[in-house]
């Protein structure tokens, strides 16, 4: 009897494991098939480098360059804000405060990850967007910059908690050794702690970026949704995710527009896949040492 249960459980675990792999493969092939059908009718270079996204005009134009630039700008801005702040927050939580404060701060940061993205977008709309408009004296506060700021908030919990884990797992013997050689607290952090924790911190950053690239609701609400190539970060942009979310409901199934959205999905998938791959490289490097 016990043996039968054992075999059953083994089978269940096995099928669950393979199921998740199968799902990834299915999603990928689905995206790939729809995109492939699209690229048969629409030139792939025109798709990637085209400046205009006019799916309803005649003839329809499916250029996603402005969307790629939009996603890139928002992501870059979010990283520039979130990365330094997150690393310093992680250092502060791990190295400066006492243990009891550390526990409180860490759960608070983790709680931040639980805020739904629509709420972040809402707060951005009410609080940040008017501020940006007044502060930088631009015609609208719905800009790439506003998106970056709010997305930085979304990326920070991931970046902070994972970096903090990496920093915290630096053996205290290293810190003690550095301090005993006359290094100041800051020298110890910079030269030993951060260096040792670097692979983990890089992985944290990559995972944070992954979250930012794929984020939809917040950017849809506060980046202005204008698919033009912006001249600065203080202009409205439209991201790839926002286009898919906004237009998928209105397309005719099987139409060019429909397939074009799948192709954008494929581009997004490839980008996040690449980011995760790089994150894995960093984590793997950590293990080999």
């Amino acid at each position: 009897m016990r043996r039968i249960i054992d075999t059953i459980i083994e089978k269940v675990i096995f099928s669950c494991g393979t199921l998740s792999v199968i799902f990834v493969i299915l999603i990928f092939s689905f995206l790939f098939m729809e995109s492939f059908a699209f690229f048969k009718d629409f030139d792939i270079t025109k798709f990637v480098t085209g400046r205009y996204w006019y799916p309803d005009s005649e003839p329809a134009l499916f250029g996603i360059l402005s969307l790629i630039v939009g996603s890139f700008l928002v992501t870059l801005g979010a990283c520039l804000i979130a990365v330094p702040v997150s690393i310093m927050t992680a250092l502060y939580i791990s190295e400066v405060v006492s243990k009891s404060v550390r526990d409180v701060l860490k759960s608070l940061v983790e709680l931040m990850a639980a805020i739904p993205s629509v709420v972040i977008g809402f707060i951005g709309m009410i609080v940040l967007v008017p501020c940006v408009r007044k502060l930088f004296n631009v015609p609208t506060g719905l800009t790439a910059f506003s998106g970056s700021v709010m997305l930085a908030f979304m990326a920070m919990p991931t970046m902070v908690t994972i970096s903090e884990d990496a920093i915290h797992s630096v053996p205290w013997q290293y810190k003690e050794g550095a301090l005993a050689l006359g290094a100041t607290k800051w020298q110890t952090m910079r030269r030993i702690v951060l260096k040792t924790a670097r692979p983990g911190i890089m992985a944290a950053i990559m995972l944070g970026i992954g979250r930012v690239v794929g984020e939809t609701m917040t950017v849809m609400m506060i980046t202005g949704n204008s698919s033009r190539i912006p001249h600065s970060i203080f202009e409205p942009v439209r991201t790839m995710t926002a286009v898919i979310a906004a237009e998928m409901g209105e397309t005719v199934k099987g139409s060019m527009h429909y397939k074009a959205l799948f192709s954008i999905g494929l581009v997004l998938f490839l980008i996040t896949f690449l980011i995760n791959f790089v994150a894995d490289l960093f984590l793997g490097k950590n293990k080999n040492k």
Partner: protein, 251 residues
């Protein structure tokens, strides 16, 4: 004149009274060992001399430790400079996960000793030679320090301390993770270094204390029981507890 004068020193870990009214004078250019059973406070006492105990939460002290006539628990003391002058080698070899070269250069860089690359290289070489590690590692200076054996790692840690030219070297059970052959080599090294540095070793190995040290302090339950020449402690101690411990009746 004594290099290190400890005067009625007390240390508390939150509510635990770990060191009780310790007074001791440690002389120049000698090896002093501190022995005693586990938990007697010997490591704590050692770690008080470079104030590395400060990094532990809830530590309070009273009394004085004078190093070169200066009370290191005075508020005016710059702890980073103190730790440069009072080097420390830990129980488990703890080379940083960077290259062998950078491990030794670390102390020079953080203390801004040796302004150019040439003087740093020179000091690195000199320090590695002093611990008899140079010949083993000169061809792989830029390999990770974690690729060394434990004994080599411990030598590297000693080299790292020597590089910043301390006057006192504290060793906290430096041989406890090494095999007998490695222990012998490290002990020889310590005796060599005695001419240039004041060395204090905490050890749970009484043979080691007898072999390498000039003076020995015996501690029990956070108190200093007896401090004298090593021969005296091991052959003709004044206190009964000391005799019981060194003859192996407990501990």
């Amino acid at each position: 004149m004594s290099k290190i004068e400890i005067k009625s020193f007390n240390l508390y870990y939150t509510n635990f009274h770990a060191l009780k009214d310790i007074s001791i004078n440690i002389e120049d250019k000698r090896i002093t060992t501190i022995i005693g059973p586990s938990g007697c406070g010997k490591s704590t006492l050692l770690r008080s001399i470079n104030r590395i105990n400060d990094t532990i939460e809830g530590v309070r002290t009273s009394g004085e430790i004078n190093v070169y006539g200066e009370n290191i628990y005075d508020n005016k003391i710059d702890v980073d400079i103190l730790r440069r002058n009072v080097g420390m080698v830990f129980q488990r070899p703890n080379p940083f996960p960077i290259s062998i070269y950078e491990n030794v250069a670390f102390g020079l860089r953080v203390n801004r000793i040796g302004s150019n690359r040439w003087t740093i290289s020179e000091t690195v070489e000199k320090s590695l030679k002093a611990v008899l590690l140079w010949d083993n590692v000169k061809d792989r200076l830029h390999k990770s320090a974690l690729s060394l054996t434990l004994e080599e790692q411990q030598r590297l840690c000693i080299a790292r301390v020597i590089a910043v030219t301390p006057r006192i070297i504290l060793l906290d059970e430096p041989c406890s993770s090494l095999d007998p052959v490695a222990i012998q080599k490290i002990e020889e090294l310590m005796i060599q270094l005695k001419n240039r540095y004041t060395i204090i070793i905490v050890t749970h190995n009484m043979q080691q204390a007898a072999r390498v040290s000039n003076d020995t302090a015996f501690m029990l339950f956070g108190k200093l029981v007896e401090f004298d020449k090593t021969e005296k402690i091991f052959t003709n101690p004044l206190k009964k507890e000391t005799e019981d411990y060194v003859s192996g009746r407990f501990g």
